[in-house]
């Protein structure tokens, strides 16, 4: 259990870590000291765990008859059965020998792969080496971290292990540390984020002056060593029963609570469910007309897809929590497999608040984001984690938006947000489409519009399916302005705000031509300024100078 906490330095013999390694910045674990470390000893078992379980399941299913005979008695000789074949005629010793050899081989391979699987975290990058025959090495730059994700798969939780994934910008560019011990994973994430935040100089000054007492106490609570002193069983049990966010770490409580009732309601009233019902009814009508249940057969895969989508969404949203930490927003969810992710400031490229049509009855909304990392970080649902708030009312939305973009937490922004969600016309600083835009935005032309807060662009769309898109100027990649023949006839133009790819496309159609040109000119200037003054890639480096 304690292997990673007291790493044997095999590659670097008789070379204790330099004393300054710990003093340069205060760290909670010895894992981020720039030396090579190994992972949790159960790692190979957990990574190959599924295969072993499948194998075991197969053997048991084959042996069930023999087991039944053993306990109940009776004789059913089945010549084709492999277990019967093995247990009869004195072949048992041979079979056991084969099993022993396979086991020894497996353990040997496991041990070897564990030995060579190492990682290190320096001030600049995180690095992982692995593989016996095929060596792979992966490095990620700390200032390009897009998020740090801790996943505790159900199986791994029995071993008190957790997977730490560090998302770096780019397609599938995450660095995975699987597996670490649960307690270490949390502490290491704090260390990584602290190293990445550029807070170094400030911490150094504090270390010289002596830590504030509160901080020291907090740190003591977090000492993994204390946890080890507890019994193994007790620790495992507490791992399972502990709230998903360690209360001593998450200083702030989750700002949103999703009741199971609301979650279920939101799924029942979701657009996908609506499609599901419509398709089902259509199939029913079609098959009753021609008297054949043929239509059901055709739509079956479709229905399957929708059902699994809804189920994934449900499991993913259970025990959902979102809270602010010094190093960004933390989002957690899951019951069997726990997942929680920390998004450092400035890693969210655009935000969209949207309302499926039936959610209007209760005033519910969901929030999605675009992020630079296309990690295939499997949450409980095996999908990219782009939904930040699965369902919430307007107050929840406002609180979450305040967490995601501090500029939106301001008092005067509240009104702009409120109008962005439900407002129409020009109130609250919104510039909306002219009447002639009704040709292309029949119902929504009164609502279709944009507003600007300092450093933030807000786009409001849709009368029936309401959408509200928020883009921080510092994350804008480029600006586009287009016009086709129909728009030219109507003196309109289409605005595009290009951000990294994701579920959200930040664009606004049917804008008055002159307004759009002015927007394009103004925003291209202010984007350049916001981009130039942005320091979020080392988000706490600004504090160092104070």
């Amino acid at each position: 259990m304690t292997d990673e906490q007291a790493p044997p330095p095999p590659a670097v013999p008789a070379d204790p870590p330099p004393p300054d390694a710990r003093t340069r910045i205060r760290l909670d674990t010895p894992l981020a000291d720039g030396e090579w470390h190994r992972l949790h000893p159960a790692t190979p078992l957990l990574r190959g765990g599924l295969f072993l379980i499948a194998l075991l399941g197969y053997v048991i299913s084959q042996a069930r008859q023999q087991l039944a005979e053993l306990f109940i008695g009776g004789h059913h000789k089945d010549e084709g059965d492999p277990i019967t074949f093995v247990t009869s005629d004195g072949r048992l010793p041979i079979a056991l020998g084969v099993i022993a050899i396979v086991l020894i081989l497996l353990i040997g391979i496991f041990y070897l792969s564990w030995r060579v699987h190492e990682f290190r975290i320096t001030d600049e990058l995180v690095e992982v080496k692995q593989g016996v025959l095929r060596r792979t090495e992966r490095k990620g730059r700390l200032d390009r971290i897009q998020g740090v994700n801790i996943v505790r798969p159900f199986f791994a939780r029995f071993f008190g292990a957790a997977r730490l994934e560090i998302d770096v910008a780019g397609h599938d560019a995450n660095v995975r540390l699987d597996y670490l011990s649960s307690a270490n994973a949390d502490a290491l994430r704090r260390d990584i984020l602290r190293l990445a935040s550029g807070v170094r100089a400030r911490e150094q000054a504090e270390a010289a002056a002596g830590m504030p007492p509160g901080f020291d106490k907090l740190n003591q609570q977090l000492q993994p060593a204390q946890q080890v002193q507890r019994g193994f069983i007790e620790q495992r049990v507490s791992d399972f029963t502990a709230p998903e966010l360690d209360p001593s770490i998450a200083a702030a409580e989750s700002v949103v609570k999703i009741h199971t009732g609301r979650l279920l309601g939101s799924l029942i009233l979701h657009d996908t469910t609506l499609t599901f019902v419509i398709v089902l009814v259509a199939a029913g009508v079609a098959s009753s007309i021609n008297g054949q249940p043929f239509a059901f057969v055709i739509i079956l895969p479709f229905l399957f897809g929708i059902a699994s989508f809804l189920f994934r969404r449900f499991t993913k949203s259970l025990r959902y929590s979102i809270a602010a930490t010094p190093d960004g927003v933390r989002v957690g969810f899951g019951i069997l497999t726990l997942s929680n992710e920390t998004l450092p400031p400035g890693r969210i490229h655009s935000i969209q608040v949207r309302q499926p049509v039936l959610w209007r009855i209760f005033g519910w909304w969901e929030i999605k984001v675009n992020r630079a990392s296309k990690s295939n970080a499997k949450g409980a649902d095996g999908q990219r984690n782009t939904t930040i708030l699965p369902v919430g009312n307007r107050d929840d939305v406002q609180r979450v938006l305040g967490l995601l973009l501090p500029g939106l937490a301001a008092e005067d922004a509240a009104e702009t947000l409120r109008l962005g969600l439900t407002g129409t016309k020009g109130a609250g600083g919104y510039t909306t489409s002219p009447l002639r835009a009704a040709w292309v935005r029949v119902l929504s032309w009164r609502r279709n519009g944009y507003a600007r807060l300092p450093g933030i662009i807000l786009l409001r769309e849709g009368a029936i399916w309401r959408r509200f898109t928020i883009v921080p100027e510092a994350r804008v990649q480029s600006l586009g302005l287009t016009q086709g023949p129909l728009y030219r006839l109507l003196r309109l133009a289409h605005l595009h705000i290009h951000t990294v790819n994701g579920p959200i496309r930040a664009e606004l159609g049917a804008v008055d031509r002159d307004v759009a040109l002015a927007f394009f000119s103004d925003v291209s200037i202010s984007v350049t300024h916001s981009v130039g003054s942005d320091t979020t890639h080392r988000w706490r480096s600004g504090e160092a100078s104070t």
């Binding site: 200032d143 390009r144 910008a169 400035g346 490229h349 630079a372 994350r475 990649q477 480029s478 600006l479 586009g480 302005l481 287009t482 016009q483 086709g484 023949p485 030219r488 006839l489 003196r491 133009a493 595009h496 290009h498 951000t499 990294v500 790819n501 496309r505 031509r513 759009a516 040109l517 394009f520 000119s521 291209s524 200037i525 984007v527 350049t528 981009v531 130039g532 942005d534 979020t536 890639h537």
Partner: protein, 161 residues
């Protein structure tokens, strides 16, 4: 055409007029291929009115070819102090503004016909795939000079993602 989009106070740098040749040749090759493919049903079925399809395709594509010179003239770019401006399109106009700091890489491509005419295509890539800034038909020396200038500008304004 006063309703066309036009940004005030910008003198656009245009691409080489020779690019018309590249575009015309490319479109003609496509035209021939499209006409041949759409003729297949009429040719094999001996239904006369099916010849309407390739005829329409031919007329539309010849119209496209006829407008190529004006379309090429509509392509323009401008290096402003902090961003690159780009425009293209006649019927469907498109303007893009990219801050230099957003540059991830600059590509220079040369097709076979472009190479004969001494032209290059330059592509400016950002982290957003929808930016789509591609300046075709630059003289080889110009393209390389522009690339070096863009890299230099991006270097001096380096930012995070």
């Amino acid at each position: 055409m006063s309703d066309r989009l036009e940004l005030p106070g910008i003198t656009w740098r245009r691409v080489s007029p020779k690019y018309v040749v590249v575009d015309v040749v490319g479109t003609l090759v496509f035209t021939i291929a499209a006409v041949v493919v759409t003729s297949i049903p009429a040719f094999f079925s001996h239904v006369t009115w099916l010849w309407i399809i390739p005829a329409v395709v031919l007329v539309v594509l010849l119209l496209v070819v006829a407008f190529i010179p004006r379309r090429v003239r509509s392509i323009g770019y401008q290096l402003r102090e902090d961003d690159l401006l780009f425009r293209r399109g006649l019927l469907f106009q498109r303007f893009v503004s990219v801050p230099y700091g957003r540059m991830q890489l600059v590509d220079i491509n040369r097709g076979p016909i472009s190479r004969i005419l001494g032209l290059s295509d330059l592509r400016f890539v950002t982290a957003a795939s929808s930016s789509g800034v591609a300046i075709p038909g630059l003289a080889v020396a110009d393209a390389e000079e522009l690339r070096d200038r863009l890299v230099e500008l991006a270097e001096s304004r380096r930012v995070g993602l």
